[in-house]
Symmetry: C2
Subunit: 338 residues, 2 copies
């Protein structure tokens, strides 16, 4: 398995003026719930770290255990559990509220603190003389879900980010079942930015998993119910999944229940198209989000029926324009596959 195989094509070009300034290679695959590959480009059998793109699957124990019900979590809380948020006020407050429902505070979180990934939120926090806490970490919703699950189940949350902790074992079991890729001692594993393990999973398995997530097919009725609930939560509260001006929020805001989409660090993207019964997984091999977004937008444009008004609004995601500090258009990104 090599990420540098010659089969990895250029999928996105970055133009400045009329010249290609940069290129981004990648691999992408679309599956149905039977695991049939509907479209693929590049090496899609290679295992990649899915990073935050599978947060919706990592939230399954929270929902399936009954913890989300016990603590009265609605759409906002469940969407935040699936999120990589910008650390904006409502994100931070909602994470704190999730913890409070389980009688916890941010001191339980083991994700580490960082300045909000949302620029305006960072400026506001600095202006107020504040400092970032674990609640501002873009993963605080997922982590709040983890510790709420632990408390509901009577599991000591301390050390919950560890690969051998019961919380991560429940999470890995759910992800392994949905993707059909067992996560065990033989699986390559890394440590994520927020300190939880991230297991390597082939792109094709990820796409198959998100086709199940899209449809509820191929899983039991309880899991299908959890899938539907998580999808509905993200569709109802797309702001909670990312934040102001972010791809996931804006695309789910545009298409509602027709598209679930979630980014992950280092150029990963997963999506579910419920009406088409399809799952999508892709990776930009150099890790660039600007390119993984164009790849995902291109696949959505290809697979999702949309009317002319929607297509017009969606165009800026397929062919983003780059402006400079004076607001002058200096370049564009364009997909080189279709």
């Amino acid at each position: 398995m090599s990420l540098s195989s010659s089969s990895d094509p250029v999928l996105v070009e970055v133009l400045r003026g009329d010249m290609v300034e940069c290129v981004h290679r990648g691999a992408a695959v679309v599956c149905d719930a039977d695991g049939k590959v509907v479209f693929s480009i590049g090496d899609v059998d290679k295992a990649i770290y899915p990073r935050s793109a599978i947060k919706a699957l990592q939230a399954l124990p929270l929902v399936e255990s009954g913890a989300a019900d016990r603590y009265g979590f609605g759409d906002a809380e469940l969407a935040l559990a699936c999120s990589s948020h910008g650390g904006e006020a409502r994100h931070v407050e909602t994470a704190a509220g999730m913890l409070a429902q389980a009688g916890l505070t941010e001191t339980t979180l083991e994700c580490g603190a960082h300045w909000p990934s949302g620029t305006a939120a960072t400026h506001a926090l600095a202006r107020s003389g504040g400092k970032p806490s674990a609640l501002h970490n873009n993963c605080s919703g997922k982590h709040s879900g983890f510790v709420c699950f632990a408390c509901s189940e009577g599991i000591d949350p301390r050390g919950y980010v560890g690969i051998d902790h019961k919380v991560q074992r429940f999470v890995a079991e759910a992800v392994g079942e949905v993707t059909g890729h067992r996560l065990d001692a033989d699986t390559a594993v890394g440590t994520d930015g927020c300190s939880i393990p991230t297991f390597a999973i082939p792109l094709k398995n990820l796409a198959h998993g998100f086709a199940k997530f899209a449809t509820g097919e191929g899983v039991g009725p309880e899991r299908a119910k959890a899938f539907a609930r998580l999808r509905a939560a993200c569709a109802a509260e797309p702001f909670m999944v990312a934040g102001s001006g972010r791809f996931c929020t804006d695309v789910m805001g545009l298409f509602g229940r027709r598209v679930f989409v979630k980014t992950g660090a280092e150029g990963v993207f997963c999506a579910a198209l419920p009406d088409q019964g399809l799952g999508i997984a892709l990776k930009c091999l150099d890790g660039a989000s600007r390119a993984s977004e164009v790849m995902m937008a291109t696949l959505i444009a290809k697979l999702l029926p949309m009317d002319a008004a929607e297509a017009a609004k969606f165009g800026r995601f397929v062919n983003p324009v780059m402006k400079n500090w004076n607001g002058i258009t200096v370049g564009t990104l364009r997909p080189t596959f279709s």
Copy 2:
């Protein structure tokens, strides 16, 4: 000319745990002052936008015209004219001071305003209730140099970012002479982030140009003097070329006059090794700075004699470690060429 040619090899791998998570392709070339290629990898005949990596060449009219002398510019001002700075207090004050020497203010600058690229500087500015001005733009030193040159020459600075303005024509003439690549109406040109034109130049010509910059060979005595003065300024004031915790500042801080190195947006790097009489130019094809830095560090480690203590200090640039929000080491970058 295509950036997606199969001759572009993987030059840097990003590991998380034991697995390669991302790869970066690129091209790099080392030349001597005669233009002889000492080392090359990838397609180095391709023209790229050098972006900010050639700011030292763009500063030539400021020095050669006598404007720098007229306004009493020392090492700090000349280093800032060659910089992509972090918008830290000393950068901002020095740019303002350059303008003041010519009787100008920041309103003359046409680079646009943006929040400091230095994180701590952005937090400090927000905490103080301030807003960014053109002085915080990472290119404000270069632009201050442009307008000071204009004023010294009796050229109206208004519109100085335009490709047909006298300032840019003088700059393009100097860059074209040094790189041996004439910049004219047939040259591909884009608009840079700070609104000035950026002309496409083959990597090999850039490396040759920086070998001349390293040695003063192949140019007239006045230009050789200007080269030496700009190199000495950056060696004496490496902080002014970039800022706290930045590659260019730290590497020039470590090696002093033995290395001149300057980054450019979208994965470009140029360098000069005076004692070896060599120039280096490289581009990471996906535009990632993390990879262009490893490529440059690898070439410096290969070409520059250094003692054991220096090599130990320099190791973190050749094989950077990635830490997560809890300070845990989660990965490394490594070059795949030598």
